[in-house]
Symmetry: C2
Subunit: 309 residues, 2 copies
């Protein structure tokens, strides 16, 4: 079983309008609602890949109930969320049909009490028992200590469960010091963490700060990995056009499933890049196109990188 | 008891962002959720004025449950909503804190089945028994027949309950033919209905088409009323600055409460204009400032209008 943690789950709402004009009134032509938050996206992809997946995190209120309702219809994802008194946040993406651009509005998330955080930590410790790997994903809601991920990483180490951390800002900075097995920052997150905009230099610096392995996503150019076993670049065979929403979460699912299956790094990277590209190509944001994945997987170019591991 | 009907109730969400930029991502600094839909706004004002108020309409899904939860905490408004299988819509207003302007996104509303509409009509007929007046407010959700308001007006007449209609477009056009006691269009709605942008001419035409009395809201200039008892202009003592959201609904509450209390038209109009101005002045959109109302009420200028009734 693979465990995913989504502390700041969200109900993702997508609105389509013919044309978005700031400070005007709009009639929405299409509204789609789905469970969101990076860890839930990762869980969905893991389940589609055939892995037993358990999704945990914090959830509450009417939006939380709506989210759980929908989660119940996902095959292969077991709901192990911990209830809180606050209300799970919404994110609203407004798609301008005239340009395809999206305007994003993200609620901050519910206030979590110390008792709720302690209850979550207990539940998480139980769930680690039997997990082959764990992914810690996304932002922290208000009230959760900024060192939360460091605490969860230490607990995973204690249970001998490998852990991947995918977050940003201060939670990443604090988390990395607890020595996660893998981090998957994008170039911006890596630059914000290390002060360096040169990915190889920044990835090395992130390892120096505690990450065992760094798999940095470089957008359409694929992944750069610097690990204890070596360093690689992995790139799709050609530039893929489409919607990048969720592509990073699919990459996490690729890395984590490969880790849980004991695949060598080059195979994990190929899987992550192919899943990521198949997500960009999918018609629905945040899902991946299975045919594209099967087609791209053998075509991903993985090459050793001269960067010293 | 005064009955209000909100067929397309809404959960009104207001987001505040430091500055809204189309096609960018925003962190919301403040999110407020409240029951919405014109009829519910009218019910809230009626209850604050001290009237026993019953709110009915159609409601469903997770947003409907959230709305009912909040409605339960309104003193003086009894919840007589009829459940439907579909999900009550949301409206999202995004306030740009740098300018105070609002960008509005309105979901269309749930699809209502013929059986649900029939169940509502039965419940409405029961509620008319004992009502001193009824307000029919706002848009129709998909599936409700476009002649719905005409049907509800005829039922009110059959029960000898005076009825005010506040809607727009085709539902107004069809409703007016069933001879509502009062309509309260704004200048744009009146122009769309009659083809005339001159309010006196347009109000007369609306009466010719079936409305017994027309109280047209002219924004900051107050109301123009053409009724079987005479014609009047009613205006606030000075221009009121603020947020006009809900001002029209407060005017409806003023007109309807005055009708239920048997007040003469000039007193109903003074109340409607004072409530409307006190709503513009209130810090929270859609509520009215009671002190401003008390202060403005004796200052509203109501003058007979030369338009022949």
């Amino acid at each position: 079983m693979i465990l995913t943690v989504t502390l700041n789950a969200a109900l993702d709402i997508t609105y389509r309008v013919p044309r978005l004009r700031a400070h005007h009134s709009h009639r929405i032509t299409e509204a789609i609602e789905r469970p969101g938050g990076k860890g839930l996206n990762v869980a969905r992809v893991l389940a589609t890949l055939g892995h037993d997946t358990v999704a945990t995190g914090l959830i509450g209120g009417a939006t939380g109930a709506a989210l759980r309702d929908q989660l119940g219809s996902y095959p292969g994802v077991a709901d192990a969320f911990v209830p809180i008194a606050g209300t799970t946040r919404r994110t609203v993406g407004v798609v301008d049909a005239s340009t395809g651009d999206t305007t994003q509005l993200n609620e901050p998330g519910p206030l979590v009490s110390a008792a709720e955080w302690a209850a979550f930590a207990d539940r998480y410790a139980e769930l680690l028992d039997g997990a082959a790997a764990v992914a810690l994903c996304g932002s922290l809601p208000p009230g959760v200590p900024v060192g939360a991920y460091a605490q969860l990483i230490r607990a995973a180490h204690g249970a001998h469960v490998p852990v991947l951390l995918d977050t940003s800002g201060e939670p990443l900075r604090r988390g990395i010091a607890a020595r996660p097995d893998v981090i998957k920052p994008n170039a911006d997150e890596l630059a914000a963490l290390t002060g360096s905009t040169e990915p190889v230099r920044a990835a090395r610096e992130a390892r120096r700060r505690g990450a065992h392995a760094v798999a940095a996503s470089l957008g359409p150019e694929g992944l750069l990995a610097i690990t204890p076993d070596g360093a690689w670049r992995a790139a799709p065979p050609s530039r893929i056009a489409g919607n990048p929403t969720g592509a990073g979460d699919s990459a996490v699912a690729g890395l984590l499933s490969g880790l849980a299956e004991g695949l060598p790094w080059p195979d994990r990277l190929a899987r992550a890049v192919a899943l990521s590209a198949a997500t960009v190509r999918a018609p629905v944001a945040g899902e991946y196109d299975e045919a594209t994945y099967a087609q791209l997987l053998p075509q991903v170019r993985v090459s050793p990188h001269p960067a010293a591991a």
